[in-house]
Symmetry: C2
Subunit: 159 residues, 2 copies
DNA sequence: GCGCGATTACTCGGATACGAAATGTCCGAGTGGATCTGG
DNA sequence: CCAGATCCACTCGGACATTTCGTATCCGAGTAATCGCGC
């Protein structure tokens, strides 16, 4: 089980956009320079964030991406759901109904099987923790010098 | 982010082995019949459980797999770690040190970055829930008729 | 009838193909500013 | 010198290759029961 790099990239970009909040869109090329990432691929990874309403995209010259809402209102759950999809990591294929299960009364399958329930319970805890943390919280964990350094860096590459 | 089917198969097989606990090994072919799964592929999926000491394999005729320890002592965390690997789903690639981060003092990177800490916190909650549940707990969630039906089915296919 | 050995059938384990999904790249649609022209 | 229209550079969005990982299959090593043979 492996999570794609889109979540890491997306979260860092969201934090960066929040820090250099000059109300002007930031192009993917600039964001890619900030983290030294492949620009075209980063763009592809940010598009899901636009579809789900986390980012706002401005086409045309001087265009780019902006935060669609305040950092305190963007949870990590939102970002993970947007990038990695909404369906659960563990998907129950109901193999209990196969083989030996074909002999059981259908009423036995009224509630979800124990395996799925146990896995879902763990995954719910994961989602709960993700939903409890916002981009603003992540910003608060950064060292104090990081925001100003980011603004300076951005000014340098936009010259 | 998608979890492989090995976890589901492995857990169901562990429960089945615990139910028909006649202290005799069960071959993968029989386990595959119980859940109507591809036998060869199921075998490949159970091998990690042997390597990590959850299952015991008996080679030769009348061989097969047996539980290496009691169901109460097999946590879901053990199974997930064995099948899906031990490394975390979210892997921090330290992109904060790239680009704009190259200008920062190395002392700023003493503790993990906020993104990684936030994701790790959620994943820890997930692992904690997995470690808190055992195969025995999953067995307890099954309908009462399931164990006897499984034993009957196994007797029929071993004739 | 009984003990011993070779044979045989059955099992796990790892090495080998196949397919799907993630990764990475490209071109087209659209927008805003800059430039050029005419008054 | 100024207003307007045109042109151009820059951006996002989705369609198109490439690589990696998960899925599926096969063959070889090893074991235990079975069968046959000799005593």
């Amino acid at each position: 089980m492996q999570m794609g790099e889109g979540v890491e990239w997306g979260l860092h970009c969201l934090v960066a956009l929040a820090w250099l909040d000059d109300h002007a869109p930031v192009a993917t090329g600039r964001l890619a320079e900030i983290f030294d990432l492949p620009p075209e691929y980063l763009k592809k990874r940010l598009q899901p964030l636009v579809r789900t309403g986390i980012l706002t995209s401005t086409p045309g010259a001087r265009g780019g991406y902006s935060l669609a809402r305040r950092p305190e209102e963007i949870t990590l759950m939102d970002v993970v759901a947007a990038v990695e999809g909404r369906d659960e990591a563990f998907r129950c294929t109901e193999i209990r109904q196969q083989g030996a299960g074909t002999l059981a009364a259908p009423t036995e399958f009224g509630d979800a099987c124990g395996v799925a329930r146990a896995m879902r319970r763990a995954e719910t805890a994961w989602r709960r923790e993700l939903a409890a943390q916002t981009v603003a919280d992540v910003m608060g964990m950064a060292p104090p010098g990081a925001p100003v350094r980011m603004r300076r860096f951005y000014q340098d590459i936009t010259l």
